[in-house]
Symmetry: C2
């Protein structure tokens, strides 16, 4: 960075061979995280959620700005120190620099704008899916929804290892996976609102429809054991997983399968792209309608 | 813009010959604007305040993202339409593009991240002021504080023409003025917290002190007539003027005077840069201490 925090703006030097990708995400207390979340948890989640957007674009995150609005009971050295530590840890892990910020008094709101670089013309979009493409997801699905259920006391499952809380407050953004997919995927999105809802975004942008098969869903064995009753529904429509959902043309299928076999990419084929049916159901699950119930997603709703 | 709103991020193409300047500013209801401000007023003020940061850097604004948090009573077509219209008007006037956004439910908060371009190495900073430089301000001072007094019913002045409210909700960012100063000013800042407070930032960053002369302050004749009692204090320590305060080396003084004479730049010499006195008083006014009273600045304080 050519000039840091302290002036009215930060001066940065983007790589002239790259395009810049910009995205903004806001987290509001009691909407995106519970009121009893720690400062560090809030910070790590806010930054990871933003990094996930860049992963979905196949872009390498570089710089971010932070707009932090905090109520007076949190405007103390302890809270701000914890928040800064959480932010700094994630920033260090992904090698990104905080280049500007504004701290104001008010109800707790964290808004982050992230800037990333991608070689010109290589950004992954939602609009490139074609009939015949395979639909893949990275990692496991349903962890975010299970964590949400746990946090809101809406489940009887036990998070013995703290694995689920970790997944919620520090979801692992699939940045390297997104970059690896630049020349392979025809469309990509991160799963923040649930697989069905986010796949619908790809379908709308690409003018296609999609078929999902529940038997293929990558559900973690522990999760299946903990709650066989909910895990499929969580995997289909739970939010906050921050895995990538991407489509792959038949010509690239061998490459993906090769990466997966080598352990370089953890991804699972969960469905196929079909022609646009000109109906309202863009996504079907095991040949049946993805009902409203499965598409809905509740945060800590006010 | 190469790819617009709809994907997880926007892809933009910065000019390879330019550096990018980034700044974030947040406006919170009841802190930065009164609860009865209209949607359009809030939008125009939010964007103008952010544009002013770029003016202070001598950068040309190009792109912005918006993080809008709104309570349910405002999440309707009327309010959002008015807000968008206000935003679009200012964006059109300054030829900048909205490239991303996030709308969430919660207490009214508007956070804007603005990106601007400046030729490499040409950004104006706070740190370049040298002993002997003249201190200039653009336009008139005190309008913002007078408007604030008016809005908070803290004055007996009358805003017959609506001039003051216009100045508050739609301060004119000095973007072209900032660009014109790139090769002339040694340091620059926008006056958001008051002339004394912002000049102190220049002094701290540059390792100097400053002398101001009240007889030189550019106070609008109408303002002087409306409130001769307050106008000097408002000009010295009132916030929200969004004029530029900049320093000019003796070698560039002729150039500035020439621009001013031609009417190409409306600016007034208000003081001089002096050596760092190693005291706590970085700024003196008419040879006297700039008291705490003059440095303070109240928003709609919670």
């Amino acid at each position: 960075m050519a000039l840091g925090i302290g002036d009215d703006g930060a001066v940065i030097d983007p790589d002239p061979a790259m395009q810049l990708v910009v995205a903004t995400d806001t987290l509001v207390e009691s909407v995106h995280f519970p009121a009893d979340a720690s400062a560090e948890q809030i910070a790590t989640r806010a930054l990871c959620v933003n990094l996930s957007d860049m992963a979905a674009m196949g872009a390498r995150p570089k710089w971010f700005t932070l707009a932090l609005t905090i109520p007076s009971d949190k405007a103390n050295a302890q809270w701000l120190g914890d928040f800064s530590r959480g932010l700094a840890e994630v920033a260090a892990e992904f090698d990104i620099a905080l280049v500007g910020g504004d701290t104001t008094a008010g109800p707790l709101t964290i808004s982050i704008t992230l800037m990333a670089e991608v070689p010109t013309g290589k950004a992954l979009k939602r609009s490139g899916a074609k009939v015949g493409d395979g639909i893949y997801v990275t990692g496991h699905l349903g962890d975010g929804a299970a964590a949400l259920a746990l946090i809101t006391d809406n489940t009887d499952i036990k998070d013995v290892s703290g694995y689920l809380l970790e997944r919620f407050y520090r979801p692992r953004p699939m940045v390297e996976e997104g970059i690896a997919l630049r020349d392979i995927a025809s469309a990509c999105i991160d799963i923040s609102d649930g697989l069905i809802a986010d796949l619908e975004h790809i379908c709308k942008a690409s003018g296609v429809s999609a078929k999902l098969y529940t038997e293929n869903l990558p559900i973690h064995p522990d999760m299946a054991e903990m709650s066989s009753q909910h895990c499929v529904s969580w995997a289909l429509s739970g939010g906050d997983d921050y895995q990538l959902c991407f489509t792959v043309p038949p010509s690239q299928k061998k490459k993906i399968d090769h990466f997966v076999r080598l352990g370089e990419l953890k991804a699972t084929l969960v469905g196929h792209i079909e022609p646009d049916k000109e109906s309202r159901e863009l996504v079907t699950v095991d040949g049946q309608s993805a009902t409203k119930k499965n598409r809905g997603y509740d945060h800590f709703g006010q």
